[in-house]
Protein backbone atom coordinates (compact mmCIF):
# COMPACT_ATOMS: atom_id res chain seq x y z
CA UNK A 1 0.00 0.00 0.00
CA UNK A 2 1.42 3.32 -0.97
CA UNK A 3 1.42 6.35 1.26
CA UNK A 4 0.43 9.78 0.09
CA UNK A 5 1.89 12.93 1.52
CA UNK A 6 0.33 16.35 1.30
CA UNK A 7 2.70 19.17 0.44
CA UNK A 8 1.46 22.73 0.85
CA UNK A 9 2.71 25.26 -1.70
CA UNK A 10 2.23 28.92 -0.96
CA UNK A 11 0.59 31.32 -0.31
CA UNK A 12 3.94 33.14 -0.50
CA UNK A 13 6.28 31.02 -2.55
CA UNK A 14 9.40 31.71 -4.53
CA UNK A 15 7.99 30.08 -7.65
CA UNK A 16 4.88 32.23 -7.57
CA UNK A 17 4.74 35.95 -7.94
CA UNK A 18 1.30 36.12 -6.40
CA UNK A 19 -0.16 34.49 -3.31
CA UNK A 20 -2.18 31.34 -3.85
CA UNK A 21 -2.18 28.13 -1.85
CA UNK A 22 -2.11 24.66 -3.37
CA UNK A 23 -2.06 21.34 -1.54
CA UNK A 24 -0.45 18.64 -3.61
CA UNK A 25 -0.98 15.02 -2.63
CA UNK A 26 2.12 13.07 -3.54
CA UNK A 27 2.92 9.42 -4.02
CA UNK A 28 6.67 9.46 -4.16
CA UNK A 29 7.40 12.24 -6.65
CA UNK A 30 4.11 11.90 -8.55
CA UNK A 31 1.21 14.21 -7.90
CA UNK A 32 -1.97 12.20 -7.48
CA UNK A 33 -4.32 14.98 -6.47
CA UNK A 34 -4.27 18.72 -6.03
CA UNK A 35 -6.42 21.26 -4.29
CA UNK A 36 -6.24 24.99 -4.81
CA UNK A 37 -7.24 27.65 -2.33
CA UNK A 38 -7.75 31.05 -3.95
CA UNK A 39 -8.82 34.18 -2.14
CA UNK A 40 -5.56 35.36 -0.60
CA UNK A 41 -5.68 38.72 -2.32
CA UNK A 42 -9.38 39.31 -2.57
CA UNK A 43 -9.66 43.10 -2.26
CA UNK A 44 -13.38 43.55 -2.78
CA UNK A 45 -13.02 45.68 -5.91
CA UNK A 46 -16.60 45.14 -7.08
CA UNK A 47 -17.81 46.28 -3.68
CA UNK A 48 -15.62 49.39 -3.78
CA UNK A 49 -17.05 50.32 -7.16
CA UNK A 50 -20.51 50.71 -5.67
CA UNK A 51 -19.38 53.87 -3.90
CA UNK A 52 -17.82 55.45 -6.99
CA UNK A 53 -19.07 56.88 -10.25
CA UNK A 54 -18.23 55.19 -13.57
CA UNK A 55 -15.37 57.59 -14.36
CA UNK A 56 -13.69 56.79 -11.05
CA UNK A 57 -14.25 53.10 -11.66
CA UNK A 58 -12.19 53.29 -14.90
CA UNK A 59 -9.11 53.84 -12.77
CA UNK A 60 -10.20 51.22 -10.27
CA UNK A 61 -10.75 48.63 -13.00
CA UNK A 62 -7.26 49.38 -14.28
CA UNK A 63 -5.94 48.17 -10.94
CA UNK A 64 -7.70 44.83 -10.98
CA UNK A 65 -4.54 43.56 -12.58
CA UNK A 66 -1.36 45.39 -13.48
CA UNK A 67 -0.46 43.18 -16.43
CA UNK A 68 -3.75 43.07 -18.30
CA UNK A 69 -4.82 46.47 -16.99
CA UNK A 70 -5.88 47.85 -20.36
CA UNK A 71 -8.01 44.77 -21.14
CA UNK A 72 -10.03 45.27 -17.98
CA UNK A 73 -10.44 48.98 -18.69
CA UNK A 74 -11.64 48.39 -22.24
CA UNK A 75 -13.94 45.65 -21.05
CA UNK A 76 -15.50 47.87 -18.39
CA UNK A 77 -15.77 50.83 -20.75
CA UNK A 78 -17.38 48.69 -23.44
CA UNK A 79 -19.91 47.45 -20.91
CA UNK A 80 -20.83 51.02 -19.93
CA UNK A 81 -20.87 52.18 -23.56
CA UNK A 82 -23.13 49.24 -24.35
CA UNK A 83 -25.73 50.28 -21.80
CA UNK A 84 -25.46 54.04 -22.40
CA UNK A 85 -25.45 53.68 -26.23
CA UNK A 86 -22.27 55.73 -26.67
CA UNK A 87 -20.37 55.96 -29.95
CA UNK A 88 -16.62 55.64 -30.38
CA UNK A 89 -14.92 57.35 -33.34
CA UNK A 90 -13.11 54.96 -35.68
CA UNK A 91 -9.71 56.42 -34.85
CA UNK A 92 -10.42 55.86 -31.17
CA UNK A 93 -11.29 52.22 -31.88
CA UNK A 94 -8.05 51.75 -33.80
CA UNK A 95 -5.96 53.23 -30.99
CA UNK A 96 -7.70 50.99 -28.48
CA UNK A 97 -6.90 47.92 -30.58
CA UNK A 98 -3.33 49.15 -30.90
CA UNK A 99 -2.84 49.39 -27.14
CA UNK A 100 -4.56 46.03 -26.62
CA UNK A 101 -2.06 44.42 -28.99
CA UNK A 102 0.89 46.20 -27.36
CA UNK A 103 -0.34 44.85 -24.05
CA UNK A 104 -0.57 41.36 -25.49
CA UNK A 105 3.04 41.63 -26.70
CA UNK A 106 4.34 42.73 -23.30
CA UNK A 107 2.26 40.19 -21.39
CA UNK A 108 3.34 37.25 -23.56
CA UNK A 109 6.99 38.35 -23.46
CA UNK A 110 6.84 38.61 -19.68
CA UNK A 111 5.22 35.20 -19.46
CA UNK A 112 7.71 33.47 -21.72
CA UNK A 113 10.55 35.05 -19.71
CA UNK A 114 9.06 33.93 -16.40
CA UNK A 115 8.41 30.42 -17.77
CA UNK A 116 12.11 30.17 -18.68
CA UNK A 117 13.00 31.42 -15.19
CA UNK A 118 10.77 28.73 -13.67
CA UNK A 119 12.61 25.92 -15.44
CA UNK A 120 15.97 27.47 -14.49
CA UNK A 121 16.79 28.83 -17.96
CA UNK A 122 17.99 32.19 -16.63
CA UNK A 123 19.72 33.45 -19.74
CA UNK A 124 16.48 33.15 -21.71
CA UNK A 125 14.65 34.96 -18.90
CA UNK A 126 17.06 37.88 -19.15
CA UNK A 127 16.79 37.88 -22.93
CA UNK A 128 13.00 37.99 -22.69
CA UNK A 129 13.06 40.79 -20.13
CA UNK A 130 15.47 42.79 -22.24
CA UNK A 131 13.20 42.53 -25.26
CA UNK A 132 10.18 43.45 -23.19
CA UNK A 133 11.70 46.83 -22.31
CA UNK A 134 11.25 47.97 -25.91
CA UNK A 135 7.45 47.64 -25.84
CA UNK A 136 7.39 49.25 -22.39
CA UNK A 137 9.25 52.23 -23.88
CA UNK A 138 6.60 52.58 -26.57
CA UNK A 139 3.78 52.37 -24.03
CA UNK A 140 5.52 55.00 -21.95
CA UNK A 141 5.88 57.24 -24.98
CA UNK A 142 2.16 56.89 -25.67
CA UNK A 143 0.79 57.33 -22.17
CA UNK A 144 3.59 58.42 -19.84
CA UNK A 145 3.21 55.28 -17.72
CA UNK A 146 4.81 51.90 -17.89
CA UNK A 147 2.17 49.83 -16.14
CA UNK A 148 -1.24 51.41 -15.67
CA UNK A 149 -1.59 53.52 -18.80
CA UNK A 150 -4.83 55.40 -18.22
CA UNK A 151 -5.32 55.65 -21.99
CA UNK A 152 -8.98 54.80 -22.40
CA UNK A 153 -12.00 56.87 -21.53
CA UNK A 154 -15.71 56.70 -22.34
CA UNK A 155 -16.26 57.31 -26.03
CA UNK A 156 -12.65 56.99 -27.15
CA UNK A 157 -9.12 57.36 -25.88
CA UNK A 158 -7.21 60.12 -24.12
CA UNK A 159 -4.00 60.11 -26.12
CA UNK A 160 -3.49 60.26 -29.86
CA UNK A 161 -0.93 58.47 -32.02
CA UNK A 162 1.55 61.18 -32.97
CA UNK A 163 4.00 60.87 -35.91
CA UNK A 164 6.77 60.47 -33.35
CA UNK A 165 4.96 57.55 -31.75
CA UNK A 166 4.23 55.99 -35.11
CA UNK A 167 7.93 56.05 -35.91
CA UNK A 168 8.72 54.42 -32.56
CA UNK A 169 6.06 51.77 -33.16
CA UNK A 170 7.41 50.88 -36.59
CA UNK A 171 10.91 50.71 -35.12
CA UNK A 172 9.61 48.42 -32.40
CA UNK A 173 7.95 46.07 -34.91
CA UNK A 174 11.19 45.91 -36.93
CA UNK A 175 13.19 45.23 -33.74
CA UNK A 176 10.95 42.35 -32.67
CA UNK A 177 10.88 40.79 -36.13
CA UNK A 178 14.71 40.65 -35.93
CA UNK A 179 15.27 39.81 -32.29
CA UNK A 180 12.34 37.64 -31.36
CA UNK A 181 13.07 34.73 -33.72
CA UNK A 182 16.45 33.92 -32.09
CA UNK A 183 14.73 33.91 -28.67
CA UNK A 184 12.05 31.54 -29.92
CA UNK A 185 14.66 29.22 -31.43
CA UNK A 186 16.85 29.29 -28.32
CA UNK A 187 14.01 28.15 -26.11
CA UNK A 188 11.80 25.98 -28.29
CA UNK A 189 14.58 24.10 -30.03
CA UNK A 190 16.62 23.54 -26.90
CA UNK A 191 16.50 19.81 -26.04
CA UNK A 192 16.54 20.44 -22.28
CA UNK A 193 13.75 23.00 -22.41
CA UNK A 194 11.77 20.64 -24.64
CA UNK A 195 12.26 17.81 -22.19
CA UNK A 196 11.01 19.99 -19.34
CA UNK A 197 7.93 21.23 -21.19
CA UNK A 198 6.84 18.43 -23.54
CA UNK A 199 4.06 16.19 -22.12
CA UNK A 200 4.03 18.13 -18.85
CA UNK A 201 0.74 19.46 -17.53
CA UNK A 202 -1.34 17.97 -20.31
CA UNK A 203 -4.88 19.24 -20.82
CA UNK A 204 -6.56 17.35 -23.64
CA UNK A 205 -9.00 18.89 -26.06
CA UNK A 206 -12.01 17.24 -24.40
CA UNK A 207 -10.87 18.31 -20.93
CA UNK A 208 -10.34 21.86 -22.15
CA UNK A 209 -13.96 21.92 -23.33
CA UNK A 210 -15.29 20.25 -20.20
CA UNK A 211 -13.46 22.56 -17.80
CA UNK A 212 -14.14 25.60 -19.99
CA UNK A 213 -10.58 26.71 -20.54
CA UNK A 214 -10.22 29.99 -22.42
CA UNK A 215 -7.63 31.92 -24.37
CA UNK A 216 -4.14 30.53 -25.04
CA UNK A 217 -4.76 27.63 -22.62
CA UNK A 218 -7.68 26.42 -24.73
CA UNK A 219 -5.92 27.14 -28.01
CA UNK A 220 -2.91 25.10 -26.86
CA UNK A 221 -5.27 22.16 -26.43
CA UNK A 222 -6.21 22.48 -30.07
CA UNK A 223 -9.42 24.52 -29.86
CA UNK A 224 -9.75 27.14 -32.57
CA UNK A 225 -11.34 29.85 -30.46
CA UNK A 226 -10.48 33.52 -30.43
CA UNK A 227 -12.92 36.32 -29.70
CA UNK A 228 -11.05 38.58 -32.08
CA UNK A 229 -12.24 36.23 -34.83
CA UNK A 230 -15.60 34.98 -33.56
CA UNK A 231 -16.95 38.20 -32.08
CA UNK A 232 -14.79 41.09 -33.31
CA UNK A 233 -14.74 44.24 -31.22
CA UNK A 234 -13.11 47.65 -31.71
CA UNK A 235 -11.08 47.56 -34.94
CA UNK A 236 -10.60 43.79 -35.19
CA UNK A 237 -13.45 43.41 -37.67
CA UNK A 238 -11.21 45.13 -40.23
CA UNK A 239 -8.44 42.55 -39.90
CA UNK A 240 -8.43 38.84 -40.41
CA UNK A 241 -7.32 37.41 -37.07
CA UNK A 242 -6.84 33.65 -37.23
CA UNK A 243 -6.64 31.75 -33.92
CA UNK A 244 -3.11 30.47 -33.28
CA UNK A 245 -3.19 26.73 -32.57
CA UNK A 246 -0.24 24.38 -32.10
CA UNK A 247 -1.41 21.85 -34.72
CA UNK A 248 -0.57 24.39 -37.41
CA UNK A 249 2.98 24.58 -36.08
CA UNK A 250 3.80 21.12 -34.69
CA UNK A 251 1.38 19.05 -36.76
CA UNK A 252 -0.66 17.97 -33.74
CA UNK A 253 -1.81 19.51 -30.48
CA UNK A 254 -0.52 17.91 -27.29
CA UNK A 255 -2.07 20.40 -24.87
CA UNK A 256 1.10 20.50 -22.79
CA UNK A 257 3.28 23.35 -21.52
CA UNK A 258 5.37 23.50 -24.70
CA UNK A 259 2.20 23.98 -26.74
CA UNK A 260 1.13 26.81 -24.45
CA UNK A 261 4.56 28.33 -24.86
CA UNK A 262 4.34 28.01 -28.64
CA UNK A 263 0.87 29.57 -28.79
CA UNK A 264 1.95 32.62 -26.82
CA UNK A 265 5.18 33.05 -28.75
CA UNK A 266 3.39 32.79 -32.11
CA UNK A 267 0.73 35.23 -30.94
CA UNK A 268 3.46 37.82 -30.51
CA UNK A 269 4.15 37.59 -34.26
CA UNK A 270 0.42 37.86 -34.92
CA UNK A 271 0.21 40.96 -32.72
CA UNK A 272 3.11 42.54 -34.60
CA UNK A 273 1.24 41.99 -37.89
CA UNK A 274 -1.90 43.54 -36.41
CA UNK A 275 0.03 46.55 -35.09
CA UNK A 276 1.45 47.13 -38.56
CA UNK A 277 -2.00 46.86 -40.16
CA UNK A 278 -3.40 49.31 -37.59
CA UNK A 279 -0.66 51.82 -38.39
CA UNK A 280 -1.22 51.43 -42.13
CA UNK A 281 -4.97 51.86 -41.87
CA UNK A 282 -5.18 54.44 -39.08
CA UNK A 283 -8.07 56.72 -40.13
CA UNK A 284 -8.01 60.48 -39.68
CA UNK A 285 -10.48 62.22 -37.44
CA UNK A 286 -11.27 62.73 -33.77
CA UNK A 287 -10.14 60.08 -31.31
CA UNK A 288 -12.71 60.82 -28.62
CA UNK A 289 -16.42 61.51 -28.89
CA UNK A 290 -16.68 63.91 -25.94
CA UNK A 291 -13.60 65.08 -24.11
CA UNK A 292 -15.45 67.02 -21.44
CA UNK A 293 -15.86 64.60 -18.56
CA UNK A 294 -18.60 66.65 -16.91
CA UNK A 295 -20.81 66.22 -19.99
CA UNK A 296 -19.98 62.51 -20.12
CA UNK A 297 -20.86 62.18 -16.46
CA UNK A 298 -24.17 64.01 -16.97
CA UNK A 299 -25.15 61.62 -19.77
CA UNK A 300 -24.07 58.59 -17.73
CA UNK A 301 -26.20 59.76 -14.83
CA UNK A 302 -29.27 59.43 -17.02
CA UNK A 303 -28.27 55.97 -18.23
CA UNK A 304 -30.26 53.08 -16.87
CA UNK A 305 -29.83 49.40 -17.46
CA UNK A 306 -27.29 46.62 -17.74
CA UNK A 307 -24.50 46.35 -20.28
CA UNK A 308 -21.78 43.86 -20.98
CA UNK A 309 -18.37 43.83 -22.56
CA UNK A 310 -16.34 40.81 -23.54
CA UNK A 311 -12.88 40.87 -25.11
CA UNK A 312 -9.94 38.60 -25.74
CA UNK A 313 -7.43 39.57 -23.05
CA UNK A 314 -3.87 38.16 -23.25
CA UNK A 315 -4.98 35.29 -20.99
CA UNK A 316 -8.42 34.58 -22.47
CA UNK A 317 -11.96 35.89 -22.45
CA UNK A 318 -12.52 38.75 -20.07
CA UNK A 319 -16.13 39.62 -19.29
CA UNK A 320 -17.53 42.61 -17.44
CA UNK A 321 -21.18 43.21 -16.71
CA UNK A 322 -22.19 46.61 -15.35
CA UNK A 323 -25.49 47.95 -14.16
CA UNK A 324 -26.26 51.64 -13.76
CA UNK A 325 -29.40 53.21 -12.34
CA UNK A 326 -30.89 56.40 -13.74
CA UNK A 327 -30.46 59.43 -11.50
CA UNK A 328 -27.73 57.83 -9.41
CA UNK A 329 -24.06 58.74 -9.75
CA UNK A 330 -22.56 55.48 -8.60
CA UNK A 331 -22.32 52.11 -10.24
CA UNK A 332 -25.22 49.91 -9.14
CA UNK A 333 -23.33 46.65 -9.51
CA UNK A 334 -20.42 45.31 -11.48
CA UNK A 335 -19.32 41.78 -12.17
CA UNK A 336 -15.89 40.82 -13.49
CA UNK A 337 -15.12 37.39 -14.84
CA UNK A 338 -11.40 37.26 -15.47
CA UNK A 339 -9.85 34.56 -17.70
CA UNK A 340 -7.78 33.02 -14.91
CA UNK A 341 -10.96 32.12 -13.09
CA UNK A 342 -11.92 29.80 -15.93
CA UNK A 343 -8.41 28.49 -16.49
CA UNK A 344 -7.56 27.80 -12.85
CA UNK A 345 -10.25 25.14 -12.70
CA UNK A 346 -8.14 22.94 -14.96
CA UNK A 347 -5.07 23.13 -12.67
CA UNK A 348 -5.92 19.94 -10.72
CA UNK A 349 -6.33 18.10 -14.06
CA UNK A 350 -2.95 19.32 -15.29
CA UNK A 351 -1.22 18.41 -12.02
CA UNK A 352 -2.25 14.78 -12.01
CA UNK A 353 0.54 12.36 -12.85
CA UNK A 354 3.26 14.99 -12.98
CA UNK A 355 6.25 15.37 -10.72
CA UNK A 356 6.43 17.79 -7.83
CA UNK A 357 9.26 19.68 -9.52
CA UNK A 358 6.93 20.50 -12.42
CA UNK A 359 4.29 22.06 -10.16
CA UNK A 360 5.51 25.71 -10.40
CA UNK A 361 5.83 25.36 -14.18
CA UNK A 362 2.30 24.00 -14.46
CA UNK A 363 0.94 26.74 -12.23
CA UNK A 364 2.69 29.29 -14.41
CA UNK A 365 1.70 27.63 -17.67
CA UNK A 366 -1.81 29.08 -17.74
CA UNK A 367 -0.28 32.53 -17.12
CA UNK A 368 -2.23 32.90 -13.90
CA UNK A 369 -3.25 36.31 -12.82
CA UNK A 370 -4.41 35.76 -9.29
CA UNK A 371 -5.32 39.37 -8.69
CA UNK A 372 -7.68 39.18 -11.67
CA UNK A 373 -9.23 36.02 -10.43
CA UNK A 374 -10.07 36.78 -6.84
CA UNK A 375 -13.58 38.02 -7.34
CA UNK A 376 -15.45 35.20 -5.64
CA UNK A 377 -14.51 32.81 -2.91
CA UNK A 378 -16.22 29.80 -1.45
CA UNK A 379 -14.93 28.88 1.97
CA UNK A 380 -16.07 26.19 4.32
CA UNK A 381 -14.82 27.41 7.66
CA UNK A 382 -15.89 24.33 9.59
CA UNK A 383 -13.89 21.89 7.50
CA UNK A 384 -11.06 24.34 6.73
CA UNK A 385 -11.64 23.51 3.13
CA UNK A 386 -12.10 25.74 0.16
CA UNK A 387 -11.92 24.81 -3.44
CA UNK A 388 -12.53 26.11 -6.86
CA UNK A 389 -16.10 24.98 -7.24
CA UNK A 390 -17.48 23.29 -10.31
CA UNK A 391 -20.76 24.36 -11.78
CA UNK A 392 -22.71 21.31 -10.63
CA UNK A 393 -21.42 21.84 -7.10
CA UNK A 394 -22.43 25.47 -7.27
CA UNK A 395 -25.91 24.57 -8.44
CA UNK A 396 -26.16 21.99 -5.68
CA UNK A 397 -25.13 24.51 -3.05
CA UNK A 398 -27.49 27.08 -4.44
CA UNK A 399 -30.38 24.63 -4.28
CA UNK A 400 -29.40 23.61 -0.77
CA UNK A 401 -29.37 27.23 0.35
CA UNK A 402 -32.86 27.79 -1.07
CA UNK A 403 -34.01 24.70 0.74
CA UNK A 404 -32.50 25.87 4.02
CA UNK A 405 -34.05 29.30 3.66
CA UNK A 406 -37.41 27.72 2.98
CA UNK A 407 -37.22 25.57 6.07
CA UNK A 408 -36.06 28.57 8.16
CA UNK A 409 -39.03 30.60 7.03
CA UNK A 410 -41.53 27.92 7.87
CA UNK A 411 -39.87 27.57 11.25
CA UNK A 412 -39.61 31.19 12.35
CA UNK A 413 -42.10 33.13 10.29
CA UNK A 414 -45.72 32.42 11.12
CA UNK A 415 -47.62 31.58 7.98
CA UNK A 416 -44.67 30.00 6.17
CA UNK A 417 -43.11 31.66 3.13
CA UNK A 418 -46.06 33.86 2.21
CA UNK A 419 -44.40 37.14 3.20
CA UNK A 420 -41.97 38.99 0.98
Amino acid sequence: MSTTYTIPVGPVHVGLKEPITAWLELEGERIVNARVRPGAIHRGIEFMARERNPIQVIYLSERICGICSFSHVICFIRAVEDLAQMNVPVRGQYIRSLVLELERVHSHLLWSGVACYTIGFDSAFHLGMQMRERVMDVLELLSGNRVNYGVATFGGVRWDVTPELEKALRGMVRYYRQEFTPFREIVMEDPVAQARMRNVGVLTRDEAVRYSAVGPTARASGLRIDLRKSSPYEAYADFDVEPVVPQDYFGEAHGDVLDRFAVRVLEVYQSLDIIEKILDGLPEGPFVEEANLNKVMASLKKADGTGWGIIEAPRGDDTHIVSLKGGVDNVLWWKVRAPTYANAVSWPIMFRGNELADAPLIINSIDPCISCMERMLVTDEREYRSEVVTRSELVKRSRQKTFELGSLKSKYVPGGGAEQ
Binding site: V12, I41, I45, R63, V147
Partner: protein, 171 residues
Protein backbone atom coordinates in the same frame (compact mmCIF):
# COMPACT_ATOMS: atom_id res chain seq x y z
CA UNK B 1 18.43 48.79 17.61
CA UNK B 2 21.57 49.91 19.38
CA UNK B 3 22.10 46.60 21.10
CA UNK B 4 23.34 44.86 17.94
CA UNK B 5 26.91 44.12 17.28
CA UNK B 6 27.50 46.85 14.73
CA UNK B 7 30.78 45.51 13.49
CA UNK B 8 28.92 42.98 11.33
CA UNK B 9 27.02 45.80 9.71
CA UNK B 10 30.18 47.51 8.60
CA UNK B 11 31.02 44.45 6.50
CA UNK B 12 27.53 43.52 5.30
CA UNK B 13 25.57 46.49 4.07
CA UNK B 14 26.64 46.62 0.45
CA UNK B 15 25.48 43.14 -0.45
CA UNK B 16 21.82 43.01 0.45
CA UNK B 17 19.58 40.07 -0.22
CA UNK B 18 16.03 40.94 -1.02
CA UNK B 19 12.81 39.01 -0.67
CA UNK B 20 9.38 40.10 -1.84
CA UNK B 21 5.90 39.66 -0.47
CA UNK B 22 2.81 40.41 -2.50
CA UNK B 23 0.16 41.25 0.06
CA UNK B 24 -2.64 41.79 -2.42
CA UNK B 25 -1.28 44.11 -5.07
CA UNK B 26 -2.47 44.28 -8.65
CA UNK B 27 0.81 42.82 -10.00
CA UNK B 28 1.85 46.15 -11.43
CA UNK B 29 4.51 46.72 -8.79
CA UNK B 30 5.60 43.08 -8.92
CA UNK B 31 6.32 43.22 -12.63
CA UNK B 32 8.29 46.41 -12.05
CA UNK B 33 10.29 44.61 -9.36
CA UNK B 34 10.90 41.81 -11.88
CA UNK B 35 11.94 44.44 -14.44
CA UNK B 36 14.38 45.78 -11.83
CA UNK B 37 16.02 42.35 -11.84
CA UNK B 38 16.12 42.36 -15.63
CA UNK B 39 19.09 43.34 -17.75
CA UNK B 40 18.27 47.00 -18.30
CA UNK B 41 17.98 48.03 -14.66
CA UNK B 42 20.01 45.11 -13.31
CA UNK B 43 19.91 45.47 -9.55
CA UNK B 44 22.63 42.86 -9.20
CA UNK B 45 25.24 45.48 -10.06
CA UNK B 46 24.65 46.80 -6.53
CA UNK B 47 25.29 43.32 -5.17
CA UNK B 48 21.62 42.78 -4.45
CA UNK B 49 19.73 39.70 -5.40
CA UNK B 50 16.33 38.20 -4.90
CA UNK B 51 16.25 35.22 -2.56
CA UNK B 52 13.50 32.70 -2.09
CA UNK B 53 13.16 32.69 1.65
CA UNK B 54 12.79 35.50 4.17
CA UNK B 55 15.24 33.69 6.47
CA UNK B 56 18.09 34.64 4.16
CA UNK B 57 16.96 38.17 3.41
CA UNK B 58 18.00 41.60 4.67
CA UNK B 59 15.39 43.62 2.83
CA UNK B 60 11.69 42.86 2.55
CA UNK B 61 9.87 44.45 -0.39
CA UNK B 62 6.14 44.58 0.27
CA UNK B 63 3.65 45.40 -2.47
CA UNK B 64 -0.07 45.89 -2.20
CA UNK B 65 -2.66 46.94 0.37
CA UNK B 66 -2.67 44.17 2.93
CA UNK B 67 -5.70 41.92 2.63
CA UNK B 68 -7.20 40.27 5.67
CA UNK B 69 -5.88 36.86 4.68
CA UNK B 70 -2.32 38.13 4.16
CA UNK B 71 -2.19 40.06 7.45
CA UNK B 72 -0.84 37.16 9.55
CA UNK B 73 1.32 35.89 6.70
CA UNK B 74 3.02 39.25 6.31
CA UNK B 75 3.71 39.41 10.05
CA UNK B 76 5.15 35.91 9.97
CA UNK B 77 7.42 36.72 7.05
CA UNK B 78 8.64 39.83 8.87
CA UNK B 79 9.42 37.89 12.04
CA UNK B 80 11.20 35.15 10.08
CA UNK B 81 13.76 37.65 8.81
CA UNK B 82 16.92 37.97 10.87
CA UNK B 83 17.78 41.36 12.37
CA UNK B 84 18.93 43.88 11.24
CA UNK B 85 16.32 44.21 8.52
CA UNK B 86 14.71 46.88 6.41
CA UNK B 87 11.18 46.97 5.04
CA UNK B 88 10.57 48.76 1.74
CA UNK B 89 6.99 49.36 0.64
CA UNK B 90 6.65 49.61 -3.13
CA UNK B 91 3.58 51.26 -4.57
CA UNK B 92 0.98 53.76 -3.48
CA UNK B 93 -1.51 51.20 -2.26
CA UNK B 94 0.95 49.78 0.23
CA UNK B 95 1.97 53.26 1.37
CA UNK B 96 -1.48 54.73 1.88
CA UNK B 97 -4.22 52.53 0.46
CA UNK B 98 -4.56 54.83 -2.56
CA UNK B 99 -7.25 53.65 -4.98
CA UNK B 100 -8.36 50.83 -2.68
CA UNK B 101 -10.23 52.83 -0.09
CA UNK B 102 -13.44 51.76 1.62
CA UNK B 103 -12.98 48.04 1.30
CA UNK B 104 -14.17 45.43 3.78
CA UNK B 105 -11.24 43.10 3.26
CA UNK B 106 -8.18 45.32 3.61
CA UNK B 107 -6.17 45.67 6.82
CA UNK B 108 -3.51 47.92 5.27
CA UNK B 109 -1.64 50.10 4.62
CA UNK B 110 1.48 48.11 5.41
CA UNK B 111 2.65 50.34 8.27
CA UNK B 112 -0.44 49.33 10.25
CA UNK B 113 1.01 45.87 10.44
CA UNK B 114 4.81 45.96 10.38
CA UNK B 115 7.30 48.81 10.83
CA UNK B 116 8.24 50.36 7.50
CA UNK B 117 11.55 52.11 6.74
CA UNK B 118 11.31 53.23 3.12
CA UNK B 119 8.22 54.20 1.12
CA UNK B 120 8.41 54.09 -2.69
CA UNK B 121 5.50 55.98 -4.22
CA UNK B 122 4.00 55.55 -7.65
CA UNK B 123 1.31 53.44 -9.21
CA UNK B 124 3.28 51.56 -10.28
CA UNK B 125 6.70 53.10 -9.44
CA UNK B 126 9.33 52.96 -12.14
CA UNK B 127 12.22 50.52 -11.68
CA UNK B 128 14.52 53.49 -11.02
CA UNK B 129 12.33 54.41 -8.06
CA UNK B 130 12.49 50.85 -6.75
CA UNK B 131 16.29 50.97 -6.98
CA UNK B 132 16.35 54.32 -5.19
CA UNK B 133 14.19 52.87 -2.42
CA UNK B 134 16.43 49.87 -1.93
CA UNK B 135 19.58 51.98 -1.91
CA UNK B 136 17.97 54.09 0.83
CA UNK B 137 17.65 50.84 2.73
CA UNK B 138 21.44 50.45 2.36
CA UNK B 139 21.91 53.93 3.81
CA UNK B 140 19.72 53.01 6.75
CA UNK B 141 21.72 49.90 7.50
CA UNK B 142 24.96 51.89 7.13
CA UNK B 143 23.62 54.43 9.60
CA UNK B 144 23.01 51.62 12.04
CA UNK B 145 26.60 50.53 11.60
CA UNK B 146 28.09 53.83 12.84
CA UNK B 147 29.27 53.91 16.41
CA UNK B 148 26.92 55.94 18.60
CA UNK B 149 28.24 59.34 19.69
CA UNK B 150 29.89 59.53 23.06
CA UNK B 151 27.57 62.40 23.91
CA UNK B 152 24.52 60.27 23.23
CA UNK B 153 25.89 57.40 25.26
CA UNK B 154 26.50 59.69 28.21
CA UNK B 155 22.99 61.08 27.92
CA UNK B 156 21.53 57.60 27.82
CA UNK B 157 23.49 56.51 30.89
CA UNK B 158 22.25 59.57 32.73
CA UNK B 159 18.69 58.85 31.76
CA UNK B 160 19.04 55.28 32.99
CA UNK B 161 20.40 56.45 36.33
CA UNK B 162 17.55 58.89 36.70
CA UNK B 163 15.03 56.18 35.91
CA UNK B 164 16.57 53.87 38.46
CA UNK B 165 16.59 56.61 41.06
CA UNK B 166 12.93 57.27 40.37
CA UNK B 167 12.17 53.61 40.96
CA UNK B 168 11.40 52.86 37.31
CA UNK B 169 12.31 49.62 35.66
CA UNK B 170 15.66 49.83 33.93
CA UNK B 171 15.86 47.71 30.82
Amino acid sequence: MKSFDMDILRILPRSLWVTTCNSGSCNGCDIEVVATLGPRYDIERFGMKLVGTPRHADVLIVTGPVTHFMHEKLKRIYHQMPDPKVVVVVGNCGCSGDVFYKSYNLDGPVDNIIPVDVYVHGCAPRPEAVIEGVTKAVLKLEGLGKKPDKKEEAQEAEAMKEAEAAGGVAL
